[in-house]
């Protein structure tokens, strides 16, 4: 699924991507690589695209649960359930995610 253009994000920035009723957060790492995980925090239904990114960690804007956005793994409470991560591929100028 085409998600965004390659230059859509700067590093440590996020983008919300919605598809068929599901929502994802796309994050660009300090090295410029793209990653995708579920969009909603596993604690409450809050979108992670509004959170702050530091290194490989994305922080939930509501209660600061944190996740590794490369794997979806939860890092700090109150979020204690892992999120799913999705494969990302860059072709030409477009970032694709495998849903």
């Amino acid at each position: 699924m085409a998600a965004c253009a390659l230059d859509a994000l700067e590093s440590e920035e996020t983008l919300r991507f919605d598809h068929e009723g599901r929502t994802f957060v796309i994050t660009r790492s300090p090295e410029g690589d793209y990653f995708a995980i579920d969009g909603h925090c596993s604690h409450e239904k809050v979108h992670l695209a509004d959170g702050v990114v530091d290194g490989y960690i994305i922080e939930c804007p509501k209660h600061f649960g944190t996740f590794d956005y490369r794997t979806g793994e939860s890092q700090a409470p109150p979020a204690c359930i892992d999120l799913r991560s999705y494969e990302v591929k860059v072709e030409g100028n477009t970032v694709f995610i495998k849903i």
């Binding site: 509004d50 959170g51 702050v52 922080e59 804007p61 600061f64 409470p77 109150p78």
Partner: protein, 405 residues
């Protein structure tokens, strides 16, 4: 390691003791007869959800078992013997401690005016309180909220959204006088009035009578309000009696030093029950906030194991009002200069600078998406003691993240 009080702070501490590598016993004692749960949803989701709203647990029984945390529920700690290093429980049991943590929280302040015994007044602190309130609020019922603080306003929002008719009676000149700067309190007031909540500021309650199965709130100017439910939300009182009886220093809460240690080096405290000196603000403070409770609980746990680290986290608070959120990072005083940043229709954001130019607080109200990142970045600036230019903060074209250096 013994922890008294299984709320947000006590539970965070129990988990943190294990995460810090402590292998000896961890005993968490709580006087509520259920697993530790989150309080913030009590005035929000639990009052409005259609179907049986369960408590939002802080920890599952499996997790407690996995971490080998001994949770003694429904037991009150009655006495601390500091010389013998023991605590005595309501069932007479005595437990020895090496280090003791007090996370006894706070309780709702009581009205100081006459209250008829048959009147229906409620306060909100526990899950049981929330279920009792939930039973009463429904379409067409009359709710009077005494006190225009956070809990009162959140209950007001939840009650009108369930079709109740709500009046908030506040003694002070405006809402949220203690914690929120005037322009933001004004936005919140407007939001409530649009939703149909009546707000009466400067209204002193003189007493509460009972009247044909309902309560009658009598105001000093002679007016009265009949209500099916009177919610008293006039602040909380820290639970310090246990510490006081043990001879520990108390000063607007169990008095701690910057490492969260009481006047006894073997006894620590955290959360709503304690006061501590904050380096960034050069003052002793007691916070009544969810994030502080768990961060301070975890910090106290590390210090119980000898980390000896000062607690310097920036105070942070949030409240949900209808579909919008208030967030405050830091503490602002009257003399701090506000700098407004235009977020368009989605929210309002104010930064507060000290006389020396340092950012000391930021406060925003609006949609979570519009405000959360800005408040988080402001918090990082506060921690680092940065003095961003007011013009840059006010200019929406300047990315706040670029001010972090």
């Amino acid at each position: 390691m013994v922890i008294v009080g299984a709320g947000e702070a006590g539970t965070a501490a129990a988990v943190a003791l294990r995460e810090c590598g402590w292998r000896g016993p961890v005993i968490l004692i709580g006087n509520e007869v259920m697993l530790p749960y989150e309080r913030p949803p009590l005035s929000k989701a639990i009052l409005v959800e259609e179907m049986n709203p369960g408590p939002k647990l802080l920890v599952t029984p499996e997790r407690l078992a996995e971490l080998a945390i001994d949770y003694l529920q429904g037991r009150n700690v009655e006495w601390i013997d500091r010389a013998a290093h023991t605590v005595t429980l309501s069932d007479g049991a005595q437990l020895a401690y090496e280090r003791l943590l007090l996370t006894t929280g706070a309780r709702p302040r009581k009205l100081s005016v006459p209250v008829a015994p048959e009147s229906r007044i409620a306060t909100l602190r526990t899950y049981a309180d929330a279920l009792a309130i939930r039973q009463i609020i429904r379409r067409g019922c009359e709710v009077v909220v005494i006190g225009g603080g956070f809990i009162g306003l959140e209950v007001a929002a939840s009650a009108v959204s369930r079709g109740a008719s709500v009046t908030v009676v506040e003694a002070g000149p405006r809402l949220l006088t203690r914690a929120v700067p005037a322009p933001v309190a004004e936005l919140i007031r407007a939001k409530h009035e649009r939703a149909g909540v009546r707000i009466e500021s400067g209204a002193m309650v003189e007493g509460i009578d009972a009247h044909e199965g309902r309560s009658k709130v009598v105001l000093a100017d002679g007016r009265t309000h009949l209500a099916d439910l009177v919610l008293v939300g006039i602040g909380v009182v820290p639970n310090v009696e246990l510490a006081q009886a043990a001879g520990l220093a108390v000063d607007n809460g169990i008095a701690l030093d910057e490492t969260l240690t009481t006047s006894d080096p073997h006894v620590f405290a955290a959360g709503d029950c304690c006061s501590f000196p904050h380096r960034l603000y050069g003052a002793r403070m007691r916070l009544e906030a969810w994030r502080n409770a768990w961060q301070q609980g975890a910090a106290a746990a590390a210090n119980m194991l000898g980390a000896n680290r000062p607690y310097e986290n920036v105070p942070w608070f949030w409240s949900d009002q209808y579909d919008e959120t208030l967030q405050i990072a830091g503490l602002c005083r009257e003399e701090n200069v506000p700098v407004a940043r235009n977020l368009g229709a989605k929210g309002h954001l104010f930064f507060y600078l000290a006389a020396d130019g340092r950012l000391v607080a930021a406060c925003a109200f609006g949609s979570l998406g519009a405000i959360a990142k800005e408040i988080r970045l402001a918090e990082i600036m506060i921690v680092r003691g940065l003095a961003p230019k007011a013009e840059a903060l006010a200019n929406p074209a300047v990315n706040i993240k670029s001010l972090l250096i």
